[in-house]
Every structure is written in C-alpha cells, then in structure tokens.
Symmetry: C2
Subunit: 396 residues, 2 copies
C-alpha cells in the first residue's frame, strides 16, 4: 500500500496493512519510522517548557541554576539547556561528567561522594574543566589533598533530613573541622554546602513538600550563619525537583540543582510537582495479548524498559505507569482507570477499563507515562522526539 502524502504531517499515523495496523512516527524530510518495539518518545515542546519555567524561577530569585543531568543524560538536551542560558550542570558520576565534558560543558559538579579509586579520571577531568567535587569524610579530603594535581572546588555534603549521605546539618563543629581540613590543601577550594532533600519524595501533599523544604532550609541557614561567624563564606546548593517545583522560599540559597523536572514523570505528577500534561516522555509499547476474564492487556514493556519503581494508587494498588493513547499531537492525558499494574522482565500488565479494553487489540501501540523517567531513560539509552529526531545519551 502507498502512504499518502497528505497523511505525512500526522505525528502518529495508524495505517492498516492487510489485517493489522502499523504505527509510524514522522521523521524529518517526510520519512516514517515504523514502530515495532518499545520506543521512548520525547515531547520536545513540553521539555522546553519545563526547562524555561525552572530557568525563569531561578532568574526570578537570583539563583545560580545548575540542573542535574542524570535524567536526560543527553548532550542534545544539554544543548537545549544551553540555549535557555544554562552554563553549568550537575552529574552523578565521574563517567557522566566525562561524557558532558566531551560535549563541551566546562563547569560541572559531581554531586556524588568522591570515590578515591577514581582519582585518575578525576585528575584528567579537572585539567580540562572547572570541576566541583562532593566530600563528607576527612580521610577522603586528605587523599584528594595529596593526590589532586589541579585545583578543584569542594562542596561538603550536608544531610538536612533525608539520611542518605552527608554530615548531619546540626553537626556544626564537624562541618567546620572538615572545612578546615579542606583549607589545609592549596588545590582544594572550599565552595560551600550541598544538600539534597530526597525525603520530599515521600511527602503526601504539596504542603508537606513545602514544609520539608522549609524545615531543611532553616537548619541549613543556621549552619551557614555559624560558618559565617567563623569567617567562612559558603554557597548553599540545594536540589530536589519536588521542592524546586513548588516552593518560593529560597532564603539563603545560592544555587539550585533539580534534574527530573526536564521530563518529570508519574511520581512527580502524583507528588504535585507537575501536572500529567507536563510529563515530556512516554514509552510507545506494543500490545501483545489481552485477557477478557481479568480485563487486562499485556504489553511488551517491562522492567528492562521502565525499571521497577511504582507509586501507590487510590485503592492502595501499585502503579508502574499510567496509560495514554498515542495521537497526531503526541499523546493524550492518562486514561482514567487504566494503568500498568505489574512489570516483569519484558512484560507489562495493564489493568484497563472496559472501554479501553474493548477498543485495544494485539498489534496496537499504546503509550505509558513512566513512574521514574531517570531510570527509564537510563535503560532505553535513546529516545525520539515527536519529529523523529533520535536523541542519544551517555549510556548509548
């Protein structure tokens, strides 16, 4: 059959060849990409809107904006950030820093405690770019002090309540001692305090996110004042996407480092950090089976595509993704009552409403909004804009 020219501007064209439909994604120059397997799609317009909204907030409050790159992991999306006026980024590993340094970024913070075994790669990076490292341990600082061959900025990781890593925010003397240890080494340049309030991800409401953020900020301010009394000037860098999306309290904050906001995901929408319409990625998944008895659809789309994070639904049920329909504009809002109820390695099981169940059959493609876009991007390693541009990542 011939694909008619007049359909070529449809983003998704459902074309029936003999007895089964084929799904095509419009590629530049009027080519089509035929979807045949799970494919991660990016709505660039939504992504750009998410970037410009967060950049505007940083500008409004006079904050240095150093977005985390661990969600998009892509030099291409990095360019969109540059176009929006961003000049510094955050990453979560030395290898991710190397990838973005090769892509032309010259000011990078590795927001993960230094692993002394990577000193070789760290030295190579620090020779080429302005590199900030994260420390919380005196032994590691001394190792860096002796083995770094180029100056690097030092942020001290502060635990402001998440209890994952960092020196407890109340341990003023311990922080002071570590600053003094840093200052003993000429190549180590103390920059400031870095915190990540990951416990906002457990909040039950936007108000609770704000409350966690406010409480944490109060304690960080007290610590900053304490250091100031010791004549130590510190930048304060904070970061989680939920807080950064909903708060307007940036008292004593110098820098923000949200990452997930570029794409958002079901977890963020459920938290209230964004609306479902702001989620910029969806996985196109083929339906491979349907089970009328259970009103369930089976898709090719499992833990090797989405990872295994879930959110809790209204009935206490676990939700591993929200279902959308693919259309000529990208995709719909989530279909009420239709969601991924479980994932195994390659399978996803969709609990569907009667309507959605009846209108869907094996061979169709449906969209799934991921629960955790960072892990999904990391697994898929590449994604496609709705115009068919292929976006490669650090893990490609």
């Amino acid at each position: 059959m011939i694909i008619e020219r007049s359909t070529s501007w449809f983003l998704f064209s459902k074309i029936h060849i003999s007895e089964y439909p084929a799904y095509f994604l419009l590629l530049p120059k009027f080519n089509f990409m035929k979807l045949s397997k799970p494919t991660l799609l990016l709505d660039k317009k939504k992504c750009l809107a998410n970037i410009s909204r967060m950049k505007a907030k940083a500008d409004k409050y006079g904050l240095h904006f150093r977005p985390h790159s661990k969600t998009h992991q892509s030099a291409e999306v990095g360019k969109w950030l540059k176009d929006a006026g961003v000049s510094a980024i955050t990453v979560s590993s030395v290898s991710m820093a190397s990838y973005f340094a090769r892509a032309g970024w010259t000011d990078i913070t590795i927001a993960f405690p230094v692993n002394p075994a990577e000193i070789g790669q760290i030295n190579r990076l620090a020779h080429h770019i302005r590199l900030n490292l994260l420390v919380e341990n005196a032994d590691v600082v001394e190792t860096l002090g002796r083995r770094l061959t180029t100056p690097a900025g030092m942020f001290i990781k502060i635990d402001a309540g998440y209890h994952r890593t960092g020196i407890p925010v109340e341990a003023h003397r311990e922080v002071l001692t570590l600053v003094q240890t840093i200052n003993r080494f000429p190549l180590l340049q103390f920059k400031g305090l870095l915190a990540h309030n990951g416990h906002t991800y457990h909040a039950a409401s936007v108000n609770e996110i704000k409350h966690i953020h406010d409480e944490s900020l109060k304690k960080l301010s007290v610590l900053k004042s304490f250091l100031k009394q010791q004549h130590i000037t510190t930048e304060l860098s904070i970061g989680d996407t939920p807080s950064m999306s909903v708060t307007d309290n940036f008292t004593d904050v110098d820098e923000i480092r949200p990452g997930n906001f570029v794409f958002y995901d079901v977890m963020q929408a459920q938290l209230g950090s964004c609306g479902y319409g702001d989620i910029a990625v969806a996985m196109a998944c083929p339906v491979v089976a349907k089970h009328a008895g259970r009103q369930e659809l089976v898709i090719h789309g499992g833990a090797v595509h989405f990872s295994k994070d879930s959110v809790t639904g209204p009935d206490g049920n676990r939700i591993f993704g929200k279902v959308v329909t693919l259309n000529r504009n990208g995709w719909s809002e989530p279909v009420d009552g239709t969601y991924v109820k479980s994932l195994s390695q390659e399978h996803g099981i969709i609990r569907a409403t009667e309507d959605f169940f009846n209108q869907t059959k094996p061979g169709d493609f449906i969209g799934v909004l991921p629960v955790h876009s960072c892990l999904t991007v990391n697994l898929m390693r590449e994604y496609f804009t709705l115009a068919g541009e292929k976006i490669t990542t650090a893990v490609t």
Copy 2:
C-alpha cells in the same frame, strides 16, 4: 610502587598505594584490572556447576533442556551451555533471538507472545533458524498464518496459575480452537503447550514451590490428555527456576526452560532454589561514605546497577542485596546482618554490623549479591570472570 610478581596469582589483591587501598582483578597473562567503579563479577566455576547440575537433572528425567538466555544474555555463556551438551535455547524477545542466532544458535523459542509489528524480523529469523513462537490469540495466529514466509513452530501459552499471560489451563475448548486455527495454516506447525509458573516466586517455602508446581502440572496433564483424546499430540514445556531447582516431579513434561539458575541470586536463595554459595555473580562496589550514627555505609551501586527488586528480611525490612567480602577466591558467604537497605539512582545504603562497619572505609571495595541477577546483568551489559575475562552481552 611495584606490584610484586608473587601477588599476581591473587584474584583480588588489596594493595596500599600511599594512603588508600587499590583493588585489582587478575587478568590473563598476569595483567591486572584496577577496579575503580561498580563492576559485575562472575564466578565461572559456580556458573558451570549450576549448568551441569540442571543439565544432569534434565538428562535424568529424559527432558529436553532449552534453557532461557534472558539472565546471562551472553554468547560466551551460551558456549558454556553448548559445551555442556545444550543445543536449543529460549529467549524473551525478537532482538535477543537475533543476537543468539548470530552467535550460532539454530533452535530458538521466543517465549513471549508474538508482537505482530515484528513480523519482518520474525520472517528474517525463521529463514535462518528453527524458530518457535508463542501465541495465545486467534487474530495473531491468523496474521502469522498469512504473513509468515517460512515454517515456524507454534507453542500456545497456557496460564497455569500465574495469571500473567496465556489461555487459562482449564479452558480446554479454547485451547483446542486455537490449535485448530493454527492447523489451518500450512506454515504454522503446532508444537505444544508452554507454561511459566512465575507464582512460585511468591512461595514462602520449598514445599510451597513444590505444591504450586504439582498443582499446575496436574492441570496441564489434564489439558494434554484432553488434546490427546482429540488426536492432537502436544509437547509440554515448563520453565521457572524455583520449580526446576527443587522438584523431581516431571510427569508429562517434555521440555524445561529455566534461565535464572545459571547465576541464581538472593531472591532464589531466599526461596530455597539454591544456596548462597551457588550464586555466581556479585557486584564489586566502592564504599564512598560511612555514617557512624546510623552504622551505615554508602556505596556507588544503585538502581542503575541493580534495578529495584527487593526481598523481605527477617524483620520485615526490605533487602536490595546481600553484602559479601571480596577475597582471593572470589567472595565470601553473605556477611550476617549486613545488607543493602535502600537504593537510589547511583547510591546504595548498607546497613552494617558494628564489626563490618568498623573494618570498612571509603575507598574499599565490597561485594553485593544481587536480588535479581537478570535485571542486574541487563543494566551492567558486561561482566568479568574472576580470571578477568570480559563477558559481553546482547545489550552491550
């Protein structure tokens, strides 16, 4: 410093260079690989023992052995299976089938419901190898019947209690109708019934695994007899690693398809499918921080290395990996009371005993036995034997 020749036969050599230890893995020809980041290690001896144990069981009961490849995903490990006398494999996707076909396998079952959008790749594969496909839906069978260009074997997926995919095992007439649909098309060669009792993964004891397996087998036998009365000869292919590891009941079974057994993991050990000493993979992870107040260590080793599956510990706590110490023979048994209590994207948090906490410091490498080795291998994409051989995979 000079690495002395006499230490070169140590698998793991902890060598102190200035103030921090470096970890080396012995490579062939007496080179060393310096461990600097999370690295997945394979104890080949344990893997070979796991393979030969399962092969012996298949031989003992006269079963066709078609191991699933989704755990190791590697042509190299495939060779070890061939060396053990295996000539046919199972995979879970068309792309994995293509990878193993390129690696020389000529008899492959894709144990995942056919996705009609992949008919092109399926035809290319079926031209080159003996290919078996999995179906459960009449429309898909008719599509295959019309669009396949080469003969392919057809297995009907039967749901014997797991409720993920397949025709319910009690729906005899429905199965019969599908067989008749298959038989209308000359290129579709009906082979038999294929079941996967994934619900054994929820069993609380070895006896419960056996019970689930026995109950499922009874129903599958009844279905097989029903088809026989209709003059339809069917093979019966079953597969989950827990059942295959613990049962000796193979009544009416023709083929077994376990996959995870090649490496096993913490989930299997907890179920009783294997001992901790049988687990053939461990992730070497650098310790990057320690927190005395909580007796917790932080490792570089997170959801991007392990995925997010967990098991429940004795106190109802979630366990995302068991901790072992690395030594010159590979690694120890799990350290009592020391485990991965949570994972974020790059971080793992280890709850440690006082002893283990005190003897470990940033810069050290510890081992982590993964909860789900299939997802871990899929994320890491390559692994190293204790002799330093690099094993690449289908996802490399």
